[in-house]
Symmetry: D2
Subunit: 383 residues, 4 copies
C-alpha cells in the first residue's frame, strides 16, 4: 500500500516542492493525497487542481491541513507530511505534524535556528514519529559506497577531507529581481543567520560527516558577503578539525560565476583516497598508493550493499539527482512500512538523514557564522 | 487526471518492465491500473500483488486483459497498454490492443519482422489509436537539443556522422547460464533475425536518423558472431550513406569487455560538429571551426525549446536514463491528454518515437543482416 | 657523443621539420650538424643561419648534402639524415643516403608508392644502414604499455579494435589559400594516391597493428572526397579483418569540423579492454569484465618496461607529443650507439617503427584506396 | 648562438637537474658546457662523462666552477649558471654567480629564508645580471592565457580564487627509506622552515598571484604534520585575502594518497570564471554567466599572444610539463639574447618568474608557517 502523503508549501513557482513530488512519485511508494501548497489560499487551491487532488484535500493553511487530516479515519488520513517551505516555516509545521501523529519529511536546513532544531529533536522523540531531512547528496549510491568503503577501513585512518559546493547563480543581485528563490534565501527573516552556508554549506557539511564517519570538532571560517547590498553570506571557506584529529576544508559559494552545482568530496586515508562529484554522480574514483586509480560505477556487481540498494538500473544507465532524492523518500517509506508491518527495516533502508543530522546541520550554521565573525582562529564546534 | 495504464509483460526478474513502471510513475501522469505480467498466471498474480493492484485487474494472459478491460466502463477501463515482452510477443498484443481501442506503448524493436511492422503501421492508422515506441536515447534533452541545433542549420549541411553503442555484457556465453536477458536476446525464435543489431543497433540507428534529420540510404555491414555457440550477431559495424549524400559509421557490439552502455553520437557539418554521449548525458559538446568547443548543458537558459521541455531540474542537477525514458511517457501522455481535451499538443510533446521510427528500425534490422551476409558492398536501404 | 644529424627539408614555414628538430634536441643525443632545408638555395641558407649552422654545412640540394658529407672525415661527417620533405621526395633522398652510408630518419608515409617502399626496404637491407620511420603515436609510453599488456595475454585473445583519427582542418578548401600544408597534402603529384588515408590513416593503421600485435588481413573501405574541388580523399572509414580473425574499424577524416587531432584506439579481448587517446596521452584505461575500470598512468611504478623506458618524468608531469616524437629519436639513437659500441641495444630501445612498418603503411594506402574504388566488399590486404 | 650553460647540482639520482637539462635542450638555445654536479667530486665527474662534457669543464665544487669559468675567455666561458641544489644551497652559489658576472637560473623556492631572498634581490640588482626562478606552472601556455584573460577584464573584478596542489608521495615515512628526494625535502636543515608549503605551496602561491594579477594581503593557515616522525609540514590549507579585497583558498598537501601532481586553479570574477589543471594542461575552461562553458585550447588561432608565444605545436598536439619548463628557459634565453644584441625583448619573452616572485615566495613560506603556529586568525602578509 502506498503511503498517503501531504505537502506543506511547494506551490507553483517553487523549486523544491516539485522536486519532492517527483521524488515521491518515482518508486510508487507514496500517493500525494493532500496539501497546503501556499499561504495564499487561492494559490494553494490552484496547485491542488493542477496536481489532480480532490478539493477537500487542498487546504488554505498548514494548520488547517493538520487539524482536518487528523479528523479523518485512519485508513484515509495522510501518514506523512512533507514540509517544503522556506526555513523560517519549518519548525512550527513540523512540530504540529509530529505532535498530531504524522511522520515528517522536512527540507534542509532543519529549522531557522539551532535552538529550534534541538527542540524539534525532543518533540520528535516524544512523539514516536519519524523525520526525514532531505539532504539529497547522501542519497546518491556512490556517496553511500564511499561511506561504506571508508567504514570498511580499506583506506586506513582518514587524514584529510576536501568538500566543496560551488554555485554561480547569486553572482549578481538576483534578490533585486523577481527571482523568488533568491529573495527568500538571502533574507535573514526567512533564511536565518546564514545564506550560502545554510543553503548549500549544510549540504557540504552533511556530506563530509556522512562519508567520513567523523564529526567536525573545530572550525575556522572565512565568511563573505560578496555582492553589494546582499544581507547574508554568499561565499565562505572553512578550515576544520575532525573528531579523529584529521583536518578538512569546506568551501561553499554562490558567486562562482559559471558554476552550476558541482558538489564534490575528496577523502584521503593512510592507504588511499576517494573522490566523488555530482557532475559524474554514478562514478566513485578510488585511489591507491602505487596502484591505478579505479573507477567504481553504480549498478555494477562489485559495489557494496548500500550502493546496490540505492540503484534502480544496471551499470551504464545514469541515475541522477531525482533518483538520489527519491532514494531518501524510498528509504523513509521502506522504514515506515517495516514499522507498520512490525518488521525490522534493513540497515540500508534505515540509512537516511534525520534529526541528528538536522541538529548538527543547524549547529554548523551557527558555529560557522560565529567563527566568521570572530577574530579567534579556532572555534569549538558546539551543539 | 492520470491516464490509466495496463502492462503486458514485466513480471519479476524482467529488466525493462521495471524501467517502464518507473518512467510512467515519475511525472504522475499515469496510474498503473492493470496488468498481465507473465504468461505464467501465478507469476502474473504475484507481480500484481507486489505492485498493489487489485486482484481483478491482474490477468493471466494479455488476451484476457484486452478482452476484459474493454468490457469495463469507459471511466474505469485502462486507456494505454504498455507492452514490454520479448520481440516475438510484440505484434499480436499490439494489434489486439489497437484494434480494441487502446493506445499502445511498445518496447523496441517494434516487432519480430519488418513485415509485421508494416502491418502494424496500417492497423494503427486504421484504429486511430496512438503508439509510442520506447527508443530511450532520443528522450534525452541534450539529444533533442542536438536535433534542434542541426535542424537550425547552424552547423551547415551535414557531412559525417559517427554513432556507436558498445556493451560488454555478452562477452561470455551468458545464454548458457540462468541469465534470462541473455537467453531471449540471443534466441532467434524470440529475438528475430538480429541479436546485437536488433537490441542496440536499432537504438544507434534511431539516434542517427533523429539527430541528423537524415535517412539512411545505403549500407555495408560487417556482422559477427564472436562468442562461440551463439546463434545471433553480438557485434557489428556498418558503413552508411545518408539521404543527403553524407556518410556515416554505426557500430554496435555486446562483446566489448569492460564497456557498460555508453551510446555516443558525433555529427559534423560544414561549420561545426556535435558530440553527445550517455555517460555525460546532460552535456552536448558543440564544436566550431576556429572557436572554442562549447559545453552546452541541460537545464540552462540558452538551450532550445525541446531540451527545455524535456528537463525537470535546473542546470547542475543531473538527470539520467529514467528521466529520458520518462520523457517518452510524458510526451505521449501530454499528446493524449491534448487529444482527449480537444486541444493541439505542442510540437515538443508530439516529438516522441512511434510507428514511422518502428518501421524504419525493423527495416534497419533486415537490411543490416542482409548486408552482413552479402558479398556486395553497398545495399540499398529498403523499407 | 652526440650523433651528428643532417636534415633534408624542414625550411621555414614547414611544420614537421621543426617537430623533428625539437624531438632530436630534447634528449641531447643528436647534434644538428648540416642541412639542405629547401630546394630553394637561398631559403636553405637562411634556415641554416637561423639554426646556427656553419655555412659550409648548409647545402642547396640534398644531392649536394649527401655527396659532400660523404667526403668529410668520419669523425666529422653526419651519421644520420632526417628526411622531412613531402612524400614524393622521400624515396630518392633516402635511397641515396642509405647507399652512401648514412642512417635515415624518414617522415611517414615511407614513400610515394608501395613499389618504392618495397624497393627501399631492399636497398636498406643491402646497405646495412638503419631506418626510423616517424610514426609518432607509437612513441607514447602508454601506447607502448597497451602493446605490452595485449602481448602479455592479460586481455585474452583480441576480438575487436576501434581506431579513429578525426581532424577538422581541411573542412574548407584550404588548398585554395596560401596554406602550404594543405596544398601538398591534397596534391596527388606530391602526396600520392591518398590524402587523408596517407596523411593520418597510416598513423591509425600503424597504431592498430602495433597495439594489437595483429596484422590487417582484409578490408572494406568507404573513401570520400567531401570538400568540393579537392583531388584526394579527405575522409574515410574502413571495416577490417585481422590476422587472428578479429574485426576492426578504422576511421580517419580531415573534415570533422571542430576536431583537433584526437587519435584514439580501443581494443577488446575476451577478458578486458584498453582505451588510449592522445588528448589524455598519459593515461591508459584498462577495462575488465566485472571489475572497476583502471586508470593506468605514465611514470608510475606499476607500468611495464616499455612505458618506463619511454618516460622522462614521474607520474603527474604530463608528457606530450614532442616527447613521444623524441622517444622515436631517442630509441633510434640508443640503438645506433649500441651498434657503434658493439653492444646489444635493449628490446625497449629497438622498439621503433622502421622499414617493415613503412612497407605495410604503403600497402595500407594502396589497398584502402583500391577498396574504396571497388564494388567488391572485402579486399585481401596484399603487400 | 647558443647560450653556454653551467649547472650546479643535478648529479645522478637527482630529479630536478635532469628536468632542467631537458628544458634547456628542447629549443636548442643553450649548450650545456660545464658543471659541478655534486659535492662529491667523483660523482660530479661521472655525471659530466655521462653528459659528454670535456673533463676540464666538470668541477668538484661550485666555487671552483665559478672561479675557473670566470678565468676563461669571454667567448668560451659559460654565460648562465643553473643552480638545482636543495634549498639550503641556493643562496651562496647564486650570490657568487651573480657577483662574478653570470646570469642565474635558480630552482624554487629561491632561498633558505626570506632574509636571504631579500639579500639576493639586492645583490642581483647591483650585479646587473638576470635571474630566472623556475616556477614551472606559470610556463604553461594556458596559464598564461588565463593571466591574459583576467588582465583583459573580460571576467570583471575577481572575487574568488581556489588553488590546490595535491600530492600523495609523502603518505608514508619515505624519509626513513633511501628516497633522497623525501630525505632533503623533509629536513629542516636542508629545506628550511617549511616542507610541503615550501616545496609545492610556493608553486600554488605563485600560480595564484600570477593568474589573478593580485597579491596576497592576509592569510590564515592550518599547517599540519600528518605522518608520524616527520619534521616539517606535509599538509596545509590557507584562507587568504587578496589585494583587491577578494578572498582565496590555497591547499597543498603531500599526504593525499593516490594523487599525483594535479595543480589546479579556479578564478571567478563578476562575469565569469576560469579553470586550469595540470592533468589537462592544454585546456583552459572559460565559464560565463548564462552561456556555455568554453574549452579554450593551446595551439589554436584564438588564444592570445602569451599563449601563442609559449606553444610549439598546432592544437591537438599535447605539450606538457617539460615544454612548460622549457618555456621558462626559452624566455630567459630570448631575453638575454635581446640584451646581448642590444634589442628589446618582447613582453612575452620577458614574462618569466624572477627575483620579485622569489622574494614573495619566501615571504609566503615564512608567513604561512607563522600563521600556522599562531592563534590569531588573520596574519598580514609581510615581505
Amino acid at each position: 500500500m502506498k503511503l498517503r502523503l501531504a505537502m506543506i508549501g511547494g506551490g507553483q513557482g517553487a523549486f523544491i516542492g516539485a522536486i519532492h513530488r517527483l521524488a515521491a512519485a518515482l518508486d510508487g511508494l507514496y500517493e500525494l493525497t493532500a496539501g497546503a501548497f501556499s499561504s495564499d489560499a487561492e494559490k494553494s487551491r490552484a496547485t491542488g487542481v493542477l496536481l489532480g487532488l480532490p478539493t477537500d484535500r487542498v487546504y488554505s493553511t498548514y494548520q488547517e491541513l493538520i487539524a482536518q487530516e487528523k479528523q479523518r479515519p485512519a485508513a484515509e488520513r495522510v501518514q506523512v507530511i512533507a514540509i517544503v517551505t522556506p526555513n523560517y516555516l519549518h519548525f512550527e509545521p513540523a512540530r504540529q505534524a509530529l505532535e498530531n501523529g504524522f511522520h515528517v519529511i522536512l527540507d534542509k536546513p532543519m529549522t531557522f535556528s539551532l535552538a529550534e532544531a534541538r527542540q524539534l529533536q525532543q518533540i520528535a522523540a516524544a512523539s514516536g514519529k519519524k523525520l526525514l531531512l532531505t539532504h539529497t547528496y547522501t542519497g546518491y549510491p556512490m556517496v553511500k559506497e564511499a561511506r561504506q568503503l571508508v567504514a570498511s577501513g580499506a583506506l586506513g585512518a582518514l587524514r584529510k577531507v576536501y568538500v566543496e559546493y560551488p554555485q554561480g547563480w547569486l553572482s549578481s543581485f538576483a534578490e533585486g529581481t523577481d527571482n523568488k528563490q533568491a529573495a527568500w534565501r538571502t533574507d535573514p527573516a526567512r533564511s536565518g543567520v546564514a545564506g550560502a552556508m545554510g543553503d548549500i554549506g549544510t549540504h557540504a557539511f552533511n556530506l563530509l560527516e556522512y562519508v567520513s564517519g567523523l564529526q567536525v570538532a573545530k572550525l575556522c571560517a572565512d565568511i563573505n558577503i560578496v555582492v553589494a547590498g546582499r544581507q547574508l553570506d554568499d561565499d565562505g571557506a572553512v578550515l576544520l578539525k575532525l573528531s579523529n584529529g584529521a583536518s578538512a576544508v569546506l568551501t561553499a559559494t554562490q558567486i562562482a560565476a559559471g558554476e552550476e552545482n558541482n558538489v564534490r568530496i575528496r577523502v584521503y586515508g593512510e592507504k588511499g583516497g576517494l573522490e566523488w562529484q555530482q557532475v559524474d554522480a554514478n562514478t566513485l574514483q578510488v585511489k591507491w598508493l602505487d596502484k591505478p586509480v579505479e573507477i567504481w560505477r553504480a549498478g555494477t556487481g562489485y559495489v557494496g550493499s548500500y550502493a546496490r540498494h540505492n540503484t534502480r538500473t544496471p551499470a551504464g544507465h545514469p541515475e541522477g539527482y531525482l533518483e538520489a532524492f527519491a532514494n531518501l523518500y524510498r528509504n523513509f517509506a521502506l522504514s515506515l512500512q517495516a514499522e507498520l508491518s512490525g518488521q525490522t527495516a534493513s540497515p540500508e533502508a534505515l540509512d537516511y538523514p534525520g534529526l541528528e543530522e538536522g541538529v548538527r546541520g543547524m549547529a554548523f550554521i551557527e558555529n560557522v557564522i560565529a567563527s566568521g565573525q570572530s577574530d579567534k582562529k579556532w572555534t569549538d564546534f558546539t551543539v
